[in-house]
């Protein structure tokens, strides 16, 4: 964890800041939005570079096509809206006009996950990682905090091809260091431990670190890995950790179906089979509520993670008796 005073900022804020810096560095950067620029933070870029910002109105399908067309002319295109609209609503547009073509479009989706809060199920993307991960050629990046979101936004500009960048609404603690370069496809061990692996992404990295602190008080050393790229997955880091601890818990603010948990389970099943337990949103729709209340309701708190870990280790001991 960073030695700096913990500050709270949403990953979307880091994204917005990065866009402004990126726009200054590279004139090829163009940003699109679908009438949510104040919420997605693309408004910061719009203010700085109005000629390279296009608000396409409440018409997401068209935005994806326009992004592809601009990319055809050599632009690095960042297209933003809420995650639910940036994925489900335009899945076929992304499939054909962005992924199949391999064009240089970065789909930067904010308001992902349950912590969207009061807007409820219609605005809570809980399957977006699964949808984007199944798309050939698509890279899927989920920054853990605003600082990492800033660095990831800059990093994906260096890669010529489609990327899905998953961002959140909620202000959360900064837990990564701004000195570490962001590399697509590299997971990072945030806290070493020998007893169990917690593989987390997004805001749940912070939750997992909090859980690890509690578990340490009970003598359980949990290794916490920030899996900030879901695709391509850093199988090497995960396999090495699984080999040390023998059991993995995935932790994500996403459905337990097809997201980080699915990716890790698939990779370990092929390369180093160990038990994999998934902490995430059960196979249910979200609902309205305060973000903190929703995290509790759907079992995404540090305490839930600790309970899962204790249960796994107890069951494991009983089996070996």
């Amino acid at each position: 964890m960073s030695t700096k005073q913990p500050t709270k900022e949403a990953t979307r804020d880091g994204y917005g800041r990065a866009l402004v810096d990126l726009g200054h560095r590279d004139h090829r950067v163009v940003v699109l939005d679908a009438d949510l620029s104040k919420s997605t933070k693309t408004a910061l870029f719009a203010d700085a570079y109005p000629e390279r910002f296009f608000n396409l109105g409440i018409a997401e399908a068209n935005m994806i096509g326009v992004a592809a067309g601009l990319a055809c002319t050599g632009k690095i295109v960042y297209a933003s809206t809420f995650a639910i609209f940036a994925t489900q609503r335009v899945l076929n547009q992304i499939f054909q006009s962005v992924a199949y073509t391999g064009l240089n479009v970065k789909i930067c989706a904010t308001h992902a996950g349950i912590t969207v809060g009061e807007d409820g199920a219609t605005h809570q993307a809980l399957d977006d990682i699964a949808l984007m991960r199944a798309m050939p050629g698509m890279k899927v990046v989920v920054p853990a905090d605003a600082e990492e979101a800033y660095r990831a936004t800059l990093a994906v500009a260096q890669y010529d091809g489609p990327v899905y960048l998953r961002l959140g609404r909620l202000a959360t603690s900064v837990i990564t260091s701004d000195e570490e370069p962001f590399t697509i496809g590299r997971a990072k061990i945030m806290r070493p431990g020998r007893d169990i692996t917690l593989a987390a992404c997004g805001f749940m990295v912070e939750q997992s670190l909090r859980a690890a602190v509690k578990l340490a008080e009970e003598g359980i050393e949990a290794e916490v890995i920030n899996v900030s790229t879901i695709k391509p997955l850093d199988t090497e880091t995960l396999v090495q950790s699984a080999a040390r601890t023998g059991v993995v818990v995935t932790v994500e603010e996403h459905s337990v179906i097809g997201g980080l948990g699915g990716a890790v389970a698939e990779a370990l099943a092929s390369h180093h089979p160990v038990p994999v337990h998934r902490v995430g949103v059960p196979d249910l729709f979200g609902q309205s509520g305060d973000a903190a209340d929703l995290l509790t309701h759907y079992g995404l708190t540090p305490e839930n993670i600790c309970d899962t870990v204790r249960q796994i280790l107890t069951d494991g001991k009983e089996r070996t008796k």
């Binding site: 396409l56 018409a59 096509g65 326009v66 067309g69 055809c72 002319t73 547009q93 006009s97």
Partner: protein, 279 residues
Amino acid sequence: MLSTASSAGREAYRDLEKRARVIRRHIVNMIAEAGSGHPGGSLSAVEILTTLYFGVMKIDPKVPDDPERDRFILSKGHAAPALYATLAERGYFAVETLSSLRRLGSPLQGHPDMRKVPGVEMSTGSLGQGLSVGVGMALGARLDHRYYRVYVLLGDGECQEGQIWEAAMAAGHYQLNNLVAIVDRNGLQIDGSTETVMTLSPLAQKWRAFGWNVVEVDGHSFSELFQALDSVAYAHKPTAIIARTVKGKGVTFMEGAVDWHGKAPDRKQREKALEELGE
């Protein structure tokens, strides 16, 4: 613009007619050999493609990625045989490649793939997406201070896709006078006539209401197509050309027959079609 008044103009039209005939023969042969494909909507678009590729567009097949080139997007991607035949005749790739249509490993996919075929500017197939891409390219031209044009060929049935009107709205909003949509108005879609499946009329008024310059032409008349495309130069907004066409044009038993939307001719039908088209 070509003038019919001069003998040179008449000669040029005769050349285009000949090219159109060759392209139609390719379409029939390709689809017959593939055993599947979409002859109806390919044949209806032949004069449109011929006019663009042999008369209007600023392109050089030897420099397919020239940043100043005009762009063409076949939004109705199922007319791929017509595009492939046109590109091959224009010199983008060998005519012999055409016979590999729809075969495993062929660059000539059932619907166009920009990563496999030189001259194909956008991958299409799932309808409704090409005009949005055209809007993006037209905005890109504006950002780069380039003066190329972007032409997008739409099916009339395709105009039932909501995304077309999202794109039309955006093009009108940004007054993209470097963008041209051409609607292949053959009046038929898979399940019947467009007006019985889902009414499109009044189509011209719809485009006008979205802020477009609209021209209606006979989509098989080179002179009318040239005249319509010429009007683009004077428009301060995007131009929609509604080209009235006949589905299956040039092969009498396919003309106006909905069954020939997506069916390959058998050996006898192929022979008859080629005989009608002539050399």
